[in-house]
């Protein structure tokens, strides 16, 4: 799909959401139900892990100024500490984009920040500390995916054995529990079918939806015991390494019923649907086996999954982590943690992606977010508190680049350790223009 086609799609999306916003710039991997930011992103909110012996040692939501003409551009202008180290990980706006929900994979607390009253200074609006009890045993709130008036949350684990069996959990925008949908397993497929002999493992990680196809996709990672433990210890623990997800699940978006289980071995993580009106596919990457996967609708209208490219040299375990699909669906940024490298793939033919660029960002890299026009790309460093590199390689940062079409050009960076903030993880963009 070409960029000009996207313009029409964005307008359509806006019309669907019926929100009073009129713009076409945003990070590209958000829920299509939420409104878009006008113009240049003004702030980036960074969900940051507290570190023992550093600053106030607490998890915090850090706000960095991105306004082009601001005197404080590229600086931390606000930080809200939430108490404790909760294994801060992912966050997502609700469907009207007035609140940012941020989860703790360890303590299961969900912090809801008000980002509309003063977008330059988020405040803690509400804390949900009953997620495990509400959900009937789901542990590790991970992805926060906005549905109209609702928040769909993926879990990673459970309160019985801290293994990988888990659920989707739905709340309403007021933070009230709605429902739990346990992931299908081979013993209880809940009506889903297994594609090509896939064995439903019941694991979870990310969730994304393709609204016009009424499809929701989930991926699978690992349970609390693994994502909380020392990475090196886990690599040497043969039993622990057996406990990674190897499936993706196609759901009926409206009924929340699982429909089909795909075999995607090696821990498929982020899920990204394109924006194009005829783009009936999604990408994911497998962390352990270092492959780019395509989940697509075939000519017969059936959804399928296949590996379409290697990411780096899989034998080196680059560990692909976050991905960011350009708004025109033509390119895909893929970060790999172990080699600290970002790679750009040409995905104009989604069945035959080609790497066209790579750059080492630092000793380690995790998250990547790009502006809606693709001209600004932001990186943060932390994967998980006990998985990050040790010693001098434990670089913790926000790095901003400009993408000129052929290379990433340094813009600014913030050393999160030097600033005594902690480990920088998920980024979400904010703008006062949303609420004016």
């Amino acid at each position: 799909m070409k960029r000009r086609e996207f313009g029409g799609m964005a307008v359509s999306a806006l019309a669907l959401t019926a929100m009073p916003f009129s713009v076409s710039a945003d990070e590209t991997c958000q829920s299509p139900y939420m409104p878009m930011i006008t113009g240049h992103e003004e702030y980036v909110y960074i969900w940051t892990l507290g570190v023992e012996g550093m600053g106030d040692e607490q998890d915090k939501m850090v706000t960095v100024d991105l306004r082009p003409n601001s005197d404080t551009r590229g600086q931390v202008i606000n930080s809200v500490s939430v108490g404790g180290r909760n294994e801060a990980h992912h966050a997502g706006f609700n469907s009207d984009r007035r609140y940012l929900w941020a989860g703790g994979l360890d303590t299961n607390r969900i912090f809801i920040f008000d980002v509309h009253s003063d977008p330059s200074k988020p405040s803690l609006h509400k804390t949900i500390d009953s997620f495990v009890k509400d959900s009937g045993g789901c542990v590790g709130p991970h992805t926060f995916f906005a549905l109209p008036g609702r928040m769909m949350i993926t879990g990673l684990s459970n309160d019985e054995d801290h293994g990988g069996r888990t659920a989707l959990v739905e709340y309403n925008d007021d933070g009230e529990y709605v429902a739990t949908y346990w992931m299908p397993t081979a013993d209880d497929m809940q009506g889903a079918v297994a594609a090509d002999g896939a064995v439903a493992d019941g694991y979870g990680y990310d969730v994304r939806a393709l609204i016009r196809k009424n499809i929701m996709l989930t991926s699978s990672f690992t349970g609390w015991s693994n994502y909380m433990m020392d990475f090196g210890q886990m690599l040497g623990d043969a039993e622990a390494m057996k406990r990674f997800g190897g499936t993706m699940v196609q759901w009926d978006l409206h009924t929340r019923q699982p429909k089909k289980v795909f075999s995607v071995p090696g821990a498929p993580l982020e899920v990204r649907f394109p924006w194009g009106p005829n783009a009936n596919y999604a990408f994911s990457t497998t962390a352990l086996t270092s492959k780019l996967w395509l989940i697509y609708e075939d000519d017969a209208g059936e959804w399928q999954a296949k590996a379409v490219a290697d990411i780096g040299n899989p034998a080196d375990i680059p560990l692909p982590v976050d991905i960011s699909l350009a708004a025109d669906d033509q390119t895909l940024w893929i970060n790999s943690f172990m080699d600290g490298t970002t790679r750009l793939f040409d995905v104009s033919d989604p069945h035959n992606p080609k790497q066209i660029y790579e750059k080492k960002i630092a000793s380690q890299v995790n998250m990547v977010s790009q502006s809606w026009d693709g001209e600004r790309v932001y990186y943060t460093s932390s994967l998980l508190g006990n998985w990050d590199k040790k010693g001098a390689d434990d670089a913790q940062y926000l790095k901003a680049y400009k993408w000129n079409g052929s290379e990433l050009v340094d813009d600014f960076e913030i050393d999160f350790y030097e600033a005594q903030l902690g480990r920088a993880h998920l980024m979400r963009f904010g703008s006062a223009a949303l609420y004016s």
């Binding site: 909760n86 009953s130 045993g137 064995v199 690599l235 043969a238």
Partner: protein, 429 residues
């Protein structure tokens, strides 16, 4: 110090990679929690992988008062087990057992409300964890020891791999406040929480006629754990019950080896009328020394499973880049500070051993065959190694018979113990 080449040779004898299919592995894994249909509790004889999951739903005794059944169980010996020694000042009652179960599963009894006793002693995994070699505590902090099974723990004295405590009434305090386990700021802080909670207030009053205290907390936990009894295994029915067909020919041959050529019974004794399969003593088998050598001289590569059937050898430097420094483990010495106790660990009981892997004090062996291979090799042979460990010269067939015998020690009631454990969901805030 042992030479690196020699060390590696020994290590390799203990490493068995299992080309388990993706389907078998996933199916095993996913069935280890209770949310799913019934699965039979049947150890797979000769299986080199994980045991068949323990499914609470397969227990037929779901009616009536489970705590009353547990009380009776803790008072009436099962075939192959001795009478449970209850302390005079802590006779069991159903109320104590029920309270102890609740405390055992309460995730709120850790500083950040994520860890209970049961997160490392999982009922569906024979009250240990099959999923980790060594335990992980609050905030993911590493514990250097494997979680021991709590089946028949009431018979053990001393407790812990290094014997640091002697009674269940006091044992719980260590994990309750250990920074890398439940990390409570103090034991008194936990007691205060219990006394503020109206449900606990009523339960303590019902069990003791008094509010919560550290002593009463320990008594309740001990009463519950002393009810986790599992005898009446096929071996018991054959050896003590006179059922000639309770064991297979291979298992009977394994018994002869266990008590004869392999000399396992020297440390894992079998009595005339019961067997705990432990001498309750500390031995330097050479394994602790071997693991310390590995810690100091790590192998150049680590074999890592990326997906079922997909393995890569990862350079040590890459593993080290994401590894915290692993602590040394000197075993009993850490309690006594007597140099003679270096690398000594308490002999574990072998009941239900087929269901309690991974094995050894740090979970370094994933299968029984790896353990048997280690002892068949005779350990590393360092000067302090116990003379009870020496090369056995067992053939593959004999090792197979020994493994078959060990599988005959699995009790039939593990599913019901798990069902009782899951009589109520874990407490969360």
């Amino acid at each position: 110090m042992m030479g690196r080449a020699c060390l590696r040779a020994l290590v390799l004898t203990g490493v068995v990679l299992h080309p388990a299919s993706a389907r078998a592995q996933s199916a095993t894994d996913l069935a280890t929690t209770t949310r799913g249909p019934a699965t039979q509790l049947t150890p797979q004889p000769g299986s080199a992988g994980l045991p068949t999951p323990i499914d609470p739903a397969s227990c037929s005794k779901s009616d009536g008062d489970w705590a009353e059944r547990a009380l009776i169980r803790s008072q009436v010996p099962q075939l192959g087990l001795p009478p449970m020694p209850h302390p005079d000042d802590n006779p069991p009652t159903a109320a104590k057992i029920e309270l102890g179960r609740k405390l055992f599963f309460d995730r709120r009894l850790s500083i950040n409300k994520t860890m209970s006793c049961a997160m490392c002693h999982v009922p569906e995994q024979a009250f240990t964890t099959w999923k980790l070699q060594s335990a992980v505590g609050v905030e993911g902090r590493s514990v250097k020891r494997n979680s021991p099974t709590l089946l028949n723990v009431g018979f053990l004295n001393p407790l812990f791999h290094d014997g640091r405590d002697e009674t269940l009434e006091t044992q719980f305090i260590a994990p309750l406040v250990a920074r890398n386990e439940m990390a409570n700021p103090s034991a008194g802080w936990v007691v205060s929480f219990l006394n503020r909670d109206s449900t606990y207030h009523a339960r303590f009053q019902g069990a003791f006629g008094a509010p919560a205290s550290l002593d009463r907390m320990g008594q309740a936990l001990a009463a519950y754990q002393r009810s986790l009894l599992a005898g009446n295994a096929p071996f018991d029915r054959w050896h003590y019950g006179g059922e000639a067909d309770a064991l297979s020919p291979a298992q009977k041959r394994g018994f002869e080896l266990f008590t004869g050529k392999a000399d396992c019974a020297g440390c894992h004794p079998i009595g005339d009328d019961h067997a705990l399969f432990t001498d309750q003593a500390f031995h330097d088998t050479g394994y602790g020394f071997l693991r310390e050598e590995m810690r100091q001289n790590p192998p150049e590569t680590t074999r890592v499973q990326l997906a079922p059937g997909v393995f890569v050898d990862v350079d040590f430097d890459r593993v080290a880049s994401v590894s915290s420094k692993r602590e040394a483990d000197l075993g009993r010495y850490e309690i006594t500070e007597d140099p003679a106790d270096r690398w000594k660990f308490r002999t574990p009981g072998l009941r239900n051993v087929a269901m309690t892997g991974p094995y050894m004090h740090d979970g370094g062996f994933n299968t029984l065959r790896e353990v048997l291979d280690f002892y068949n090799e005779g350990g590393p042979g360092h000067p302090e190694q116990s003379p009870l460990v020496y090369p056995l010269g067992l053939s593959d067939a004999e090792l197979g018979d020994l493994e078959a015998f060990l599988e005959s020690l699995t009790s039939p009631n593990l599913n019901c113990l798990a069902a009782e454990a899951r009589s109520q969901p874990p407490d969360n805030h």
